[in-house]
């Protein structure tokens, strides 16, 4: 216990230095935690994917369409339970900074396929009845202060012009990973309007992708192969994959950014290591005389190493704890300001474990060289440093 008291008190002997080191560790762990949370947010769509959903898109690229006529043939494929479809609309609300995901979908089948989107029966009915109606996530509605019945106008960036919609339903996420910032409206409304404006518009009777519900996860690959086989050599060949693979494809497009964020988060850890190692090197040099005294009294290598590593761990883990505690409110602020870009910005337990692991590794590594020096110094040399 006395050894614990010594290392605890040693950690706070130079209050200014320890405070500055703690501040450095806290900020670094906060930055590390937020960066890891950004990476987790990127993968939120992948995490929320269902094993019983497939996505079929144009095999050339997601930006090319597929004919609506494919729906019946897909429905007839063995193992297919539900077929829905949709198109990325890409509209902005008032001005471009108000970005959120907005899609035209076939509403009935979409809501059947996505049971994690919880809508009250009355609102669901109202949404299905009104072709100009839309359903929006709780967070999006709260952000813009919309109410049921409000008319919301989006400016089309792909489908040009102003598009009016009526808020008929608000969905809540069943799971924490469900994105509550989406804006979904009737595909029929988009298609009919396009037809009216220009019957030869390339997106008339075309969809961006099909969402397919299969009977069991195990049949997914066979169903995907059957669908792609059915449209082989057609003018719009398909690529069918699991929803997870589809989402991962989007994440892969940002691969370089994610790698850069991962690298920066690692650099942050190296910086903390340098800060703590510097502190430990200074404190150990100052206390070399005391370690020599302890050796003189018969304390061995393990005691000296224990004191140095213990002090290193006390400082690092305390800073780590403060950093973790600060990550949660910081993530809230992040969600508030960048919620439309990162709708699922949650500090995962995995991030906290990584913070703790980083703190542990830094605490251990920072103590190695000072401990070796303290252990190796001759007692007579150490005692000469006193006085």
């Amino acid at each position: 216990m006395l050894i614990l008291k010594i290392l605890w008190k040693n950690a706070f002997r130079n209050k200014l230095r320890t405070s500055l080191t703690l501040l450095g560790i806290t900020i670094a762990i906060l930055a590390f935690g937020l960066l890891r949370t950004v990476i987790s947010a990127w993968y939120a769509g992948v995490e929320a994917s269902s094993a019983t959903r497939l996505v079929t898109r144009n095999s050339t690229s997601i930006i090319f369409s597929l004919p609506l006529s494919y729906k019946n043939r897909i429905s007839q494929t063995s193992g297919v339970k539900t077929v829905s479809y949709g198109t990325w609309f890409g509209g902005v609300y008032i001005e471009e900074k108000n970005f959120f995901p907005n899609f035209s979908v076939e509403p009935q089948t979409f809501l059947d396929l996505y049971p994690e989107f919880l809508v009250s029966p009355n609102e669901k009915e109202a949404f299905l009845r009104d072709r100009k109606g839309f359903v929006a996530g709780r967070k999006l509605v709260e952000k813009y202060g919309w109410k049921i019945g409000d008319i919301v106008t989006l400016k089309g960036t792909i489908f040009l012009g102003d598009w009016d919609f009526v808020l008929r339903a608000i969905y809540r996420g069943r799971d924490k990973t469900t994105d509550e910032s989406q804006f979904l409206f009737h595909w029929e409304y988009l298609n009919e309007t396009l037809k009216k404006r220009n019957p030869y518009h390339p997106w008339v009777d075309q969809v961006g992708y099909y969402m397919i519900g299969v009977t069991r996860p195990e049949v997914g690959s066979a169903v995907a192969a059957a669908i792609d086989g059915a449209f082989k050599n057609s003018f719009a060949e398909t690529l069918t994959e699991t929803e997870k693979a589809f989402q991962q494809g989007f994440v892969a497009m940002s691969g370089a950014i994610i790698t850069a964020i991962q690298l920066v988060s690692m650099v942050v850890i190296v910086i903390i290591l340098a800060v703590v190692a510097n502190t430990m090197a200074m404190t150990t040099r100052e206390r070399m005389g005391e370690y020599a005294v302890l050796k003189t009294l018969g304390f061995g290598r393990k005691h000296i190493a224990g004191l140095i590593f213990g002090e290193s761990f006390v400082i690092t883990m305390l800073g780590c704890g403060l950093g973790i505690a600060a990550t949660f409110p910081a993530a809230q602020v992040f969600t508030h300001t960048l919620g439309t870009y990162f709708p699922i910005f949650r500090v995962e337990p995995k991030t906290v474990y990584l913070d703790l692991a980083a703190g542990f590794v830094v605490g251990g590594c920072a103590g190695i060289i000072p401990a070796i020096r303290a252990i190796q110094i001759r007692i007579a040399d150490g005692l000469r440093r006193i006085g």
Partner: protein, 231 residues
């Protein structure tokens, strides 16, 4: 036979040099010395004569280049680092010029510190530490930290720490070197009592003739060679 029985420290042909870069500085040259049990020996000599080095060698905190040192039945020059640390913990008490107390521990905790290497319970350690502090008349300052004590008090705490394990040998390196006259007198009186009343064998290095006068035997070191001197 009787003389052999009374010899506690037996030093034979001890040589020690220090290396400063490419230079080798000889410090002790073939020193031989016997120190009897219950002796109070004082080592004197000019700075750099090797007094502290000889004291460190006897106390097992430095290594000889050649020769042997035997304390009691143990040839300490043959012990490994770990064995030497264990031997020091139980056989030697140290008193330093600058007290060398651990600043983050109270007086009683400093005294108790060496007992953490023994199997004593917390209560037993506390009782032993209090007894040692009573012996040095500091039982009223148990909860004070070193920076709350005078130099003389700190040295008395250091003496209490040195005797807490009831060691065979007490080594003191300039124990009064950092003290005023009154405090130095108190410390020397205490060391005298430890020698005369408790029979502790003490080896002391000092420049102070008043301190040297308390010793029963005086040795003079000069240029690494040992000569007899008279107190």
């Amino acid at each position: 036979m009787t003389e052999k029985k009374n010899t506690l420290v037996e030093i034979r042909d001890v040589t020690k040099s220090y290396h400063r870069g490419s230079y080798t500085v000889p410090v002790l040259r073939e020193i031989s010395l016997d120190i009897g049990e219950g002796e109070f020996l004082c080592l004197m000599g000019p700075s750099g004569s090797g007094k502290t080095t000889l004291l460190n060698l006897i106390a097992g905190i430095d290594r000889v280049d050649s020769g042997t040192i035997r304390v009691g039945d143990v040839a300490i020059t043959n012990l490994s680092e770990m064995e030497l640390a264990q031997w020091r913990a139980t056989h030697v008490g140290f008193i330093f010029q600058f007290y060398n107390l651990i600043p983050v521990l109270t007086a009683v905790e400093n005294v108790e510190l060496p007992l953490h290497l023994t199997g004593l319970s917390k209560k037993e350690r506390w009782e032993h530490a209090m007894m040692a502090l009573r012996l040095v008349n500091l039982d009223h300052r148990v909860s004070h930290y070193p920076n709350q004590l005078s130099g003389g008090e700190q040295q008395r705490v250091a003496i209490a720490r040195a005797i807490i394990t009831d060691p065979t040998l007490l080594v003191a390196d300039e124990p009064t070197g950092d003290l005023d006259r009154v405090s130095a007198e108190e410390v020397l009186n205490l060391m005298g009592r430890l020698n005369s009343d408790l029979g502790k064998t003490i080896i002391m290095v000092t420049h102070d003739p008043r301190a040297a006068a308390r010793a029963r035997q005086l040795k003079h070191l000069e240029k690494g060679l040992l000569n007899d001197a008279h107190p």
